[in-house]
């Protein structure tokens, strides 16, 4: 038995016909179509919005939070981003990093690009001319931190070697202090009081911006020696070590680790009593967090999709009943089972696909709004997954109604009420 044209071409012709039937059916019952598609729309929107926000936050974290500085790692008392149990254990064993450790590393570590130490404390109040700025972070730094840290000099200068050696009462301030105290005045040379002590402003940092709505510009940097002299003689330090390139990162970390283990006389089977932290440490914690958010989202989306699919199946069943006569006509004119099957499955898939498309557009809109006050970036993969998933749901839930339609007896179907 030969059809005049190839089976594949024939299927294509039927499929194209089915596509236009589906579009027609959708547009002729707009409200019904909208209600039918709501589940799929919500599912797709949720999926894409969550994927976009997570993606946006990934970029953000990588950019703002995890950015310790290029090719830089930090030696501190604790390893960040470890589990609670591990932290409890570490709390009993780990010892703070001190000035002696910094001098020791300065003496024995070789091949690094830069090394600096920071002692920091937050929740200070800065005062100038009767005005106060709360929640200022104060840090004692070595002059080398200019090459390593996030801060860049806007004008004036950073803490210099001379300031450091003499423990000078000078400070390098963030933009928040400038905005609060010196909106129209040159801050250089002015005396700012922090923690009850006066510091002469020698430089202003470039604006950093906010991270999760938290300003990063409310800081006062002073020489580490001044910090020791005025606030705390033996502060706990974070030592930043910068490598020459990313390939050197791990060897350098290993070198710092073995130097520290030797210094602390750790047996080969003992754990470190300090932590070495790189951007990846933060990123890995973040990835763990987002993967659980994502898992929850997958569950929610799956539920929505199934609900949406069932609604579509229901509408398709109603549509098959409504159009029994039409099916009879088509069958009498030579439509085979598979033609009717294709028609209804495509109709269902197109319907769900349109739902998916609406969902994508809605998600892009929401993403644009979210971006105004938070962070969001729609990844292409989210759009593809959203559209593909909704079309698949349509296909899957269209199978049952379509096979019902395909199995109709042509005589019975023709006899059905119009």
């Amino acid at each position: 038995m030969h059809r005049r044209h190839g089976e594949l071409f024939s299927a294509w012709v039927t499929a194209r016909e089915a596509f236009w039937i589906a579009i027609e059916a959708l547009t002729s019952h707009k409200l019904r179509s909208f209600l039918t598609l709501l589940g799929v729309v919500i599912a797709t929107t949720t999926l894409i919005v969550v994927m976009s926000v997570i993606n946006g936050m990934n970029l953000y974290i990588a950019d703002h939070v995890a950015n310790l500085g290029t090719n830089t790692f930090i030696l501190s008392q604790y390893k960040w981003a470890q589990g609670y149990q591990a932290w409890l254990k570490a709390r009993q064993r780990n010892r703070p990093i001190r000035m002696e450790d910094y001098r020791y590393l300065k003496e024995y570590l070789t091949g690094y690009k830069a090394m600096g130490a920071t002692a920091s404390d937050s929740r200070f109040t800065a005062k100038y001319g009767g005005q106060s700025l709360y929640d200022v972070s104060l840090a004692g730094v070595t002059p080398s931190m200019i090459d390593i840290g996030q801060q860049k000099v806007d004008y004036g200068r950073y803490i210099t070697e001379s300031d450091y050696v003499h423990g000078a009462p000078v400070c390098f301030i963030g933009q928040d202090l400038v905005n609060k105290f010196f909106p129209n005045v040159d801050p250089i040379g002015k005396e700012v009081r922090v923690g009850g002590r006066s510091f002469r402003v020698v430089g202003v940092a470039e604006k950093i911006g906010t991270t999760f709505g938290q300003s990063q510009d409310g800081f006062v940097l002073i020489p580490l020696t001044s910090y020791q002299r005025l606030f705390m003689a033996r502060p706990r330090l974070d030592i930043s070590v910068q490598a020459w390139n990313s390939a050197q990162m791990l060897p350098l970390e290993d070198e710092v680790r073995s130097l520290m283990r030797v210094r602390r006389h750790l047996h080969y089977n003992e754990d470190d009593t300090f932590g070495i932290n790189a951007s990846e440490t933060i990123m890995s914690l973040w990835k763990r967090l987002t993967s659980s958010i994502f898992a929850v989202t997958i569950g929610v989306v799956a539920v929505f999709m199934v609900v949406g699919g069932i609604v579509i199946m229901n509408i398709m069943l109603a549509s098959v009943t409504d159009r029994t006569h039409e099916i009879g006509i088509r069958k009498s004119l030579g439509a085979r089972r598979r033609d009717i099957l294709t028609q209804f499955i495509i109709e269902s898939a197109v319907m769900a696909g349109v739902g998916g498309l609406i969902g994508v557009l809605l998600a892009m809109l929401i993403s644009m709004i979210v971006q105004r006050f938070f962070t969001s970036s729609v990844p292409l993969s989210a759009i593809i997954v959203g559209l593909g998933l909704s079309a698949f749901v349509g296909l899957f839930f269209g199978i049952y109604p379509a096979s019902k339609a395909a199995k109709l007896d042509p005589i019975e179907a023709l006899r059905a009420e119009v």
């Binding site: 059809r3 071409f9 012709v13 006569h325 089972r337």
Partner: protein, 251 residues
């Protein structure tokens, strides 16, 4: 024309038919068709051993009162259904044992239906309704449109191609249906009470169209219960109680 011998007397009729000299001209050959419906406990015989043949170019009316089994017979002839027993040959092909999909192919290729209720797709234009059978054999769109326009002009609806059924009169709708029946050049045109839903003037108009189709060489099988409609045909097969009551030539 020499009538085909009655099947009851020819147990091996199909073989004889194949060797028959009229083989090329016979378009329909029904041998001892039975159709039994299972109604709950009882079995109802709608057709009890119907045998007949129709030659290419004939204009045959199948007549009978309601309940006579003529609708069942029409469904069998139209390949919408298969007989419980017996053989049905259409255009040299034994169709009584085909699967659903094969029957669909036969309906598409060999049969042009014209129904009492027109059976047009309400939301489709006349043009689209007419091209529908071509979609199911995968004809490319341009060719479909050309042929649909051609047959629509043939039934004098060249100026109504883009109208929907609701925008057409009953007679125009039936002409769309006739155009649709013609588009695949079928072996037979099978009309089921084609004037049943039309007033007599419009009915006449449609019957004149059938006359024209007959004169241009089409084979027409007309199912009706109206004498004056049946009288248009050249042969009337009377059905009563599931059997052929009378097979007469007229005109």
């Amino acid at each position: 024309m020499e009538h085909f011998p009655t099947m009851e007397s020819q147990p091996n009729a199909s073989q004889q038919w194949e060797s028959s000299s009229t083989q090329d001209n016979i378009i329909i050959l029904a041998q001892d068709l039975w159709k039994t419906y299972d109604m709950e406990a009882v079995k109802v015989d709608a057709l009890c051993g119907v045998s007949f043949s129709i030659v290419r170019g004939e204009y045959v009316a199948i007549m009978g009162p309601s309940g006579s089994g003529k609708s069942t017979l029409m469904n069998l002839i139209g390949c919408l259904d298969t007989p419980t027993s017996g053989q049905y040959w259409l255009n040299s092909r034994l169709v009584s044992e085909l699967t659903d999909d094969e029957l669909a192919y036969i309906r598409n290729k060999e049969i042009g239906f014209v129904f009492q209720t027109f059976n047009l797709l309400p939301r489709a234009t006349a043009l689209h309704n007419v091209e529908l059978p071509l979609i199911y054999n995968g004809t490319p769109p341009e060719e479909r449109l050309d042929r649909a326009e051609e047959v629509l002009r043939m039934v004098e609806l060249g100026d109504r191609m883009h109208h929907r059924p609701s925008e057409l009169s009953g007679g125009q709708r039936q002409r769309v249906a006739v155009a649709r029946a013609l588009i695949n050049h079928p072996s037979i045109i099978l009309a089921d009470e084609p004037t049943g839903n039309l007033d007599s003037a419009t009915g006449d108009e449609i019957m004149n169209l059938f006359d024209r189709l007959y004169h241009s060489g089409n084979t027409i099988v007309l199912v009706t219960h109206e004498h004056d409609i049946a009288a248009r045909a050249h042969r009337i097969i009377h059905i009563r109680d599931g059997k052929i009551d009378r097979d007469e030539r007229v005109g």
